[in-house]
Amino acid sequence: MRALYSPRCWKTTLLLAFLTTVGSVQAYPEFQQHIVKTTGRAVNCALCHANADGPEGTGPGQIGHLTAAEQAELGRARAAFEPGARPNSPILNAFGNHLINSLGKKKFLELRLAPAQLAEALPKDSDLDDDGISDARELPSGTHPFIKSDGDPWLLFQANFKRNFTQIALALAATVSGLWGLGHLLRGFAVATRLKDDEAEDPAH
C-alpha cells in the first residue's frame, strides 16, 4: 500500500492516465472535410494543427513528440471549455489556438455538427496573418488564416494596394522623373553628336 503512493508509482499512474487520454484524442476532420467539399481546395491538417499530418504520431507538433511541460500545456488547453482561456496547445498552430480561445472548446465541439457555421462564429476583426483578409473570411474560402501569402488573390491585391499606396506613388514618381531626366539627357547626347558630325562634315560652318 505504501509502495502505491511512492513518487515513482504516481508518475507511472499519471503517464498511464495521459496515454489513456491520448488514445481518445482525435483531430476534428469535419471542418477540413467541409472546406475541401465547398471550396475544392486541397486543405490538410496544418490549417489548425502544428503538424500537417494531424495531432497523432511522433513527429514534431504531434502528441508522441511532446515534452512533459508541453503535455501539461496540452492538458490545460483541453480544459479550455469557455472562450478567453488563452490556450497554448502545442499540437495546434496559432490559428488552432485562436479558434479555441475565441469560441471555447465547448462551442467548438458543438460546431462539429454544423461546420459551415464555424467561420460565422469567429470574431470578425481578427486577422492573424495581417494579410488584410479576416480569418472569418479566409476560412470558408479555404485559404490559410495564418499564412500571409495565402488568400483570395484579388482580395490580397486590394488590401496590399491600399496598404502600400504611398510606396507605389513614390515609385511611380521616381520612375516618371527618372525617365523624364534620362530622356532629356539622351536627347542632349543625340543633339551634341549631330552637331559634332555636322562640324566634321563642314568645318567652315
Binding site: R41, A42, V43, N44, A46, A52, D53, G142, T143, H144, I147, K148, S149, D150, G151, D152, P153, L156, F157, N160, F161, N164, Q167, I168, A171, L172, T175, V176, G178, L179, L182, G183, L186, R187, F189, A190, T193, D197
Partner: protein
C-alpha cells in the same frame, strides 16, 4: 565540295550575317532606323524580355545571399527570406513574377517575329538564337521551380523527369536507354534528392545564365547589325531614329513594365495562386499531394500530355522543334499574311490551353 571551298562559303555566309563594316557605333546606333507601322508594337517585345531577364539577374543575386541549396535548409531559407529578410518577400515575389512575365514576353516576341517574317535572310541566325533563348528560358523556369523544395516543386520535378525517361519506350535499339541515362544525369541519384537540387541550382545560377548571356549577345548583335525587319508587306510610311527616339520609347515601356512588376511584387504574392499545402516543405515519406502540376507556361504541353497518348505528344514536340529551328528555310517563300494567320492560331492555342486547359481536361476525362 572540297574543304577550301566549304570554308570559303562558310566565311561568306558568316560575313553576310555579321558584316564587320557595320560593327561600329554609327551604323549600329546613330544611323539605325526603325519602321513605324501597325505591327510596330512587336519590336518592343524583345526589349521587354531583356528587361525581365535583367530583373531576374538583379533579384536572383539578392536571393543568392540567403538561399541555401540543401534539402534540409532550402525551404527554411526561402521562408526566412520571405518572413525575416528586409524586403525579402518583395524581392522573391518580383523574381517569381518576372520569371513568368519573361517567359510570356519571350513567347509573344517569338510569335510576333514569326508573323512579321523577321527570320528572312540575313536574319536566320537572329531567329535560331531566339529559339535557343526560348528553350533556355523554359529551362530556367524548370530548374528554378525545384529550388524552394516544397511539395509542388519536388513532385512536379519528379513528374517532369519521369517524362524524359518515358521517351525511351519509343526509341529503337540502344537509343531506348538514352533518355533514362539523361534523366539519371540530370537527377544525379536514384530519386529527386540533394544531388538533383545541387545540379538544378548549378544549372539555374551558373550554366544557364552563362549560356543565355552568350546567345543573347549574338542575338542582340545580330539585331543591331541588320536593324529591325520591315515587318509588313507594304513599305512602311515612315521610319524613326533608333537613337534617341525608339530607344526612349523602349525605355518608357521598361518603365511601365517596372511599375507593373513592382505593384505585382508588392501587392499580389505569387504563392496565392496555389493552394497552401503545396508550399509545405517536401515530405519524402508522404504521398503526392493533390493539385500537382507544372507552371502555367508548360500547360500547352502538359494537358495534351494528360489527354493524348504519349507518343503523339513526343512526335508533335519533335516536329515542332524541327520546324522552329528550320523556320527561316521552311517559310522562306511564305507571305506575311499566312504567317500572321499561323502565329495567331498558335497564340490562340497557347492562350486556350493555358487558361482553359484544366477545364478541357475535365471535360474529356470527367
Amino acid at each position: 565540295m572540297k574543304l577550301p571551298e566549304t570554308i570559303e562559303r562558310t566565311e561568306a555566309y558568316l560575313a553576310e550575317r555579321f558584316p564587320v563594316e557595320k560593327m561600329n557605333y554609327a551604323s549600329m546606333i546613330l544611323k539605325k532606323e526603325v519602321p513605324v507601322h501597325r505591327l510596330s508594337w512587336g519590336y518592343y517585345m524583345g526589349g521587354l524580355a531583356l528587361f525581365f531577364f535583367l530583373v531576374q539577374i538583379a533579384t536572383g543575386v539578392m536571393l543568392l545571399f540567403y538561399y541555401q541549396p540543401t534539402v534540409s535548409d532550402a525551404h527554411a531559407s526561402v521562408e526566412y527570406i520571405t518572413e525575416h529578410v528586409p524586403a525579402g518577400a518583395l524581392v522573391r515575389n518580383i523574381h517569381a513574377w518576372a520569371s513568368s512575365l519573361m517567359i510570356a514576353s519571350v513567347m509573344v516576341h517569338l510569335l510576333s517575329a514569326f508573323a512579321m517574317k523577321a527570320f528572312g535572310k540575313p536574319r536566320e541566325i537572329t531567329w535560331i538564337t531566339g529559339v535557343a533563348l526560348l528553350g533556355i528560358t523554359f529551362a530556367f523556369g524548370f530548374t528554378g521551380y525545384l529550388l524552394p523544395w516544397h511539395q509542388i516543386a519536388v513532385n512536379a520535378t519528379k513528374i517532369g523527369l519521369q517524362t524524359i525517361e518515358e521517351i525511351g519506350a519509343y526509341l529503337p535499339g540502344q537509343m531506348a536507354t538514352w533518355p533514362k541515362a539523361m534523366k539519371e544525369i540530370i537527377q544525379g541519384e536514384a530519386s529527386v534528392g540533394q544531388a538533383t537540387l545541387s545540379r538544378f541550382f548549378a544549372l539555374h545560377v551558373i550554366i544557364l545564365p552563362l549560356s543565355i548571356a552568350g546567345i543573347l549577345g549574338i542575338h542582340l548583335l545580330s539585331v543591331q547589325l541588320h536593324g529591325m525587319s520591315q515587318g509588313v508587306d507594304e513599305k512602311p510610311r515612315r521610319m524613326e531614329k533608333f537613337f534617341p527616339t525608339y530607344f526612349l520609347k523602349d525605355l518608357s515601356v521598361w518603365g511601365v513594365a517596372f511599375m507593373v512588376l513592382f505593384i505585382l511584387g508588392l501587392c499580389l504574392p505569387f504563392d496565392s495562386l496555389f493552394a497552401y499545402p503545396l508550399f509545405e516543405p517536401f515530405n519524402a515519406k508522404g504521398s503526392t499531394p493533390d493539385g500537382i502540376k507544372p507552371e502555367w507556361y508548360f500547360f500547352w504541353v502538359y494537358y495534351p500530355l494528360e489527354l493524348l497518348p504519349f507518343w503523339v505528344i513526343m512526335l508533335g514536340q519533335t516536329v515542332l522543334g524541327v520546324v522552329m529551328m528550320a523556320t527561316p528555310w521552311i517559310f522562306k517563300n511564305t507571305n506575311r499574311r499566312t504567317l500572321k494567320v499561323l502565329a495567331v492560331a498558335a497564340g490562340a492555342y497557347l492562350v486556350v490551353m493555358t487558361v482553359f486547359g484544366e477545364k478541357i481536361y475535365h471535360l474529356f476525362k470527367g
